[in-house]
Structure formats: C-alpha cells, structure tokens
C-alpha cells in the first residue's frame, strides 16, 4: 500500500518512537534515578554538557521527542476535531511550536556548551520563575484533576450499576493511557525547554526553577511524569512487538499489556525514593 501523508506520519511515529526509547530512558535514569531532579542545577548541567556526547545525546532526544510529540498531538487533534479547517490550522500551530522549541532548546545546548556566565541578560527578570512555577503548577493540577475525574467516573458508574463499556477492554486502557501520557509528556517537554532556555540567559533563575521541583505540590506530578515516560516507552515497544511480529491475538495483547503496567509500577518505585530523599 502506497503511504500518503497520513502513512508517512504513521511510519514516522513508529520509527521515531523506537529510536527515542533508549534515549529517553537514559535521560530518565540520569535525571530521576542517579540524581534527584532538584539537584540538577546549572552547575550540574554545565559539567554534563561540557562533554560533547551528552550535548549530542540531549539534542537528538529533543529533536525526536518534539517531532514524535508533534505527530502524536496531530493524531489527538484529528480524533477530537471534525473541521478540516481547524485541523489544518492546528497542524500549522503545532509545526511552528515544534520548530520554535527545537530552536530554543538547540540554542541553549550550543550556548551552555561554550560555558556559563554567573549572570545572563534575563537574570534580573523577577517574573520568570513565578511564571514557570505557575505552568508546572497548572500541569500538576490538570494531572490531579484527571486522576480524580477517572476515580469519580468509575465510582459513579459502579454506584449507578452502569456498565463501564469499552473500559473493560485492555486495549482501551492501553490506548487511553498511551494518549494521556503522550499529551502530558509533550506539554511537560515544552515547559522543560523553556526552563532550559534560562541556562544561558539567567542561570540563577534556572537554579530557582529547578529548586521548585522539591515543592511537595509538584512531587506527585513528577512521579506521575516518570511513570508516564516509562509507560509510554514500554507500551510503544509493546505496539512494535504486536504490529511488526504478527502478534495481534487477544491473549498476546492482554499479556503484554499486563507486563507493561507491572513493569511501569515496579520501575517507578526507585524514582519515588530518590525524589523524596533528594527533596
């Protein structure tokens, strides 16, 4: 079958996903397991990005994660919006957003690679840290509200003795979790690129933003984020196995989904320990 634009997007999602898995899990290990997020200060990043290997590693990760997220978000919008005009417009907005954030992240990596000054041109801008904190807080609030909404919905259906419909099917959960984690990771990535932009412009403010990760209100969101990245990576691998090794049987799909959920829960535990201990 000839792949048109939708086909190319589908293949890109699969290939970029496979390539980004090792990079994102490596990034997660360094930032959430080997170190507590609040300890990844500008000094930490300076040492890290003084090695060209880590600069290339993080840049390729940024490129693949942003473009993978771009195509994924395009699918989310295509499923939610029926108007062709709105879809076209959102495609354009997403492309501009991805290009802009790729440029911001790339500039940050290149500039920090050349060394850091104690102060940058934005070091005196007092509004930046509260703004980034508000963005992270909003992301955390949406995450918590989503959890509450899910629990309330299922309790209400149980009380009213209404069937849970397709939510009794593992595939529905696998897909919905993949989508929800993908959306969450994409928006966190955007906020993350913004705080990385502070490294060359205002390293003191970058350190203040990183210190916010020790805020108790944000900690559950950070744990959820680690879980989201692990789940998204493992379920992406699961899709590859099902789709490219002809394993589309119901039992294989159920079994692999159970493994993905179990592995996610087990792998998140050490990061909780690191986060709580590291503050």
């Amino acid at each position: 079958m000839r792949a048109n634009a939708t086909g190319v997007a589908w293949w890109y999602l699969r290939i970029s996903g496979l390539l980004v898995i090792a990079l994102v899990l490596g990034h997660l290990f360094v930032m959430h397991y080997a170190n507590a997020p609040a300890s990844t200060t500008s000094a930490f990043v300076l040492v890290r990005w003084s090695a060209s290997f880590w600069r290339y590693f993080d840049w390729v990760l940024l490129l693949l994660a942003l473009t993978h997220g771009l195509v994924g978000m395009r699918n989310v919008i295509a499923d939610a919006v029926s108007s062709r005009l709105v879809r076209r417009a959102s495609d354009g907005v997403l492309a501009i957003l991805a290009a802009a954030f790729l440029a911001i992240g790339s500039l940050s990596i290149v500039n920090v690679g050349h060394g850091l000054q104690t102060r940058g041109v934005l070091s005196g801008a007092a509004w930046i840290v509260p703004t980034l904190d508000a963005l992270l807080g909003a992301l955390a609030l949406v995450t918590y509200l989503a959890f509450v909404a899910i629990i309330v919905t299922f309790v209400a259906r149980g009380v009213l003795k209404l069937p849970i419909g397709w939510w009794q099917l593992h595939g529905q959960w696998a897909w919905a979790l993949h989508r929800a984690t993908g959306i969450g990771i994409f928006f966190f990535l955007l906020v993350h690129v913004l705080d990385l932009a502070l490294l060359p412009l205002a390293p003191n403010l970058y350190d203040a933003t990183v210190a916010s990760y020790a805020n108790p209100f944000l900690m559950p969101m950070e744990i959820a984020l680690v879980g989201a990245v692990i789940y998204h990576a493992l379920n992406g691998t699961r899709l590859w196995i099902l789709e490219f090794f002809d394993q589309h049987t119901s039992s294989a799909a159920v079994g692999t989904f159970a493994c993905v959920v179990l592995a996610t829960l087990v792998l998140v535990l050490p990061s909780i320990f690191v986060l709580v201990r590291g503050g």
């Binding site: 086909g7 003795k161 397709w166 009794q168 099917l169 593992h170 595939g171 529905q172 049987t249 799909a253």
Partner: protein, 239 residues
C-alpha cells in the same frame, strides 16, 4: 432449575422518545438460556414493544450483535448463567438506533462498499479459451492470514467497539478494512483501486491500534492484524 435474571435494557424509539431510557425486566430463565432467549421471554410475556434484530440464532448471521454488560457480542451466543443476576443490554454504538436494540447498519455497509468488498476476477473472454486456474498454495502465510480475515460475519461488533470510529465518523472501520485485506491478499483478485481506497486518513493509517476489535470479535477474526498487514504492504496481486 430456573434462574432469576434482571434485564436492564436501554430503550429508545426515535419516533416518540426524546432520549434513551433504561427499562428493567425480571425473567425466570432456564439452563442454557441465551441473552436472545431472555429478550424473547420479555417480548412474549412482559412487553411486546421491545425491539431487537435476530435471524439464525446460531452465531452465524451476526444480526443480533449488541452490547451485553457493556461488551459487544452476539445475543444468541451469550448464556445468561455466565452473566450474573443483572444483565445490561444496549444497542451497538456509533450506529443510528432504529428501535431499542436494533440499529441501522447503513453507515456500516456504506463504508463496507467503499472498499469494493467483492472479488474481481479476470474478465472472461468468449473468444479465447479459459486460462488455467491459478494454483493457490494454502500453506502460504499470507493465504492463512487471508483465511482468518474471511471468517468475518459483518455483525458490526468491531465497528461499535472501535473508539476511532466513534471519534472520526469518516473512518472506514475495522470490518471494512479487514475485508479489504482479505481480498488484497488474494492472488486471484484483480481490483487495482482497492488499496488506494484504504490508504487515506480514513483508511488503514487512520487506525489507532487500540485492539478492541480483536477483543470483541465473536467470530475470532483479528481486524487489527489485517489492518497492520495492509499498512506493512503485506498484500499480493494486481492491487
């Protein structure tokens, strides 16, 4: 030994009702009673206005597909003794309701027709003698994949369970794409347009790989596997 079963049925008559409503009926069922038997018991003894569709009563025609305890299945194949004391029955999703549990299958079959769901052979020529029939090796993996795909009974269970169909009404759906694969994997088929018809965003690449279609198919077909083989170009023939 009889079994008391309460049916909660989502009822809706578009000509008189503003919105669907739940109706409750309790029946005394016998061993091996199916959900369809239960619906007949209600129709015959409690409410003659209950609407549902059926035909073969043997799990072959696909007419009695509906949502039983939230999951798509054939009413004639599901035994009440396996469902507990309360059974919830709803019509298929993503299709207009004709009355109660009977849905209008027109959108389903309109999409089915879009993939040329019929075999297209060599044009017969009376001027020349018929060519030797093509020999098809039944052990070929692609032939076996096609064999699995042709077991579809077009009941619409996969169409109802698919969240992509629900989100995007233009999406062809698992049954139509499964049929397209069954024919595209047939060495004898000569339809040159079929693959082009299923390659757009409404076709195989529009599928989100959820897999509900595989979970609910009462005939044991795996439409998602067929869709994936289409996406990977695992087809043969002129198409």
């Amino acid at each position: 030994m009889s079994l008391r079963t309460t049916f909660r049925i989502l009822r809706y008559d578009p000509s008189t009702d503003a919105r669907p409503r739940w109706a409750t009926y309790t029946i005394e069922s016998k061993p091996k009673f199916s959900v369809l038997d239960g619906l007949f018991a209600i129709l015959e003894t409690q409410d003659g206005t209950l609407g549902f569709r059926y035909s073969c009563r043997a799990g072959m025609c696909g007419s009695c597909a509906m949502r039983i305890n939230g999951r798509e299945n054939l009413a004639c194949r599901v035994r009440l003794e396996n469902l507990g004391s309360t059974v919830t029955v709803e019509p298929l999703r993503s299709l207009p309701i004709v009355k109660d549990l009977a849905t209008d299958m027109t959108p389903f079959f309109e999409k089915y027709r879009k993939v040329d769901p019929f075999f297209v052979g060599d044009s017969p020529s009376f001027a020349e003698p018929a060519p030797e029939p093509l020999r098809v090796d039944p052990s070929r993996p692609l032939r076996q994949d096609a064999n699995r795909a042709i077991d579809c009974i077009s009941c619409g269970a996969c169409y109802s369970a698919c969240p992509t169909v629900s989100a995007n009404p233009a999406y062809l759906g698992p049954a139509a794409l499964n049929r397209a694969f069954a024919l595209a994997a047939d060495e004898r088929d000569r339809d040159v347009d079929r693959l082009a018809r299923v390659s757009g965003p409404e076709g195989a690449y529009g599928c989100r790989s959820v897999g509900n279609c595989v979970s609910v198919c009462p005939a044991g077909v795996a439409p998602l596997a067929a869709i994936q083989l289409l996406r990977r170009g695992k087809t043969v023939g002129a198409s």
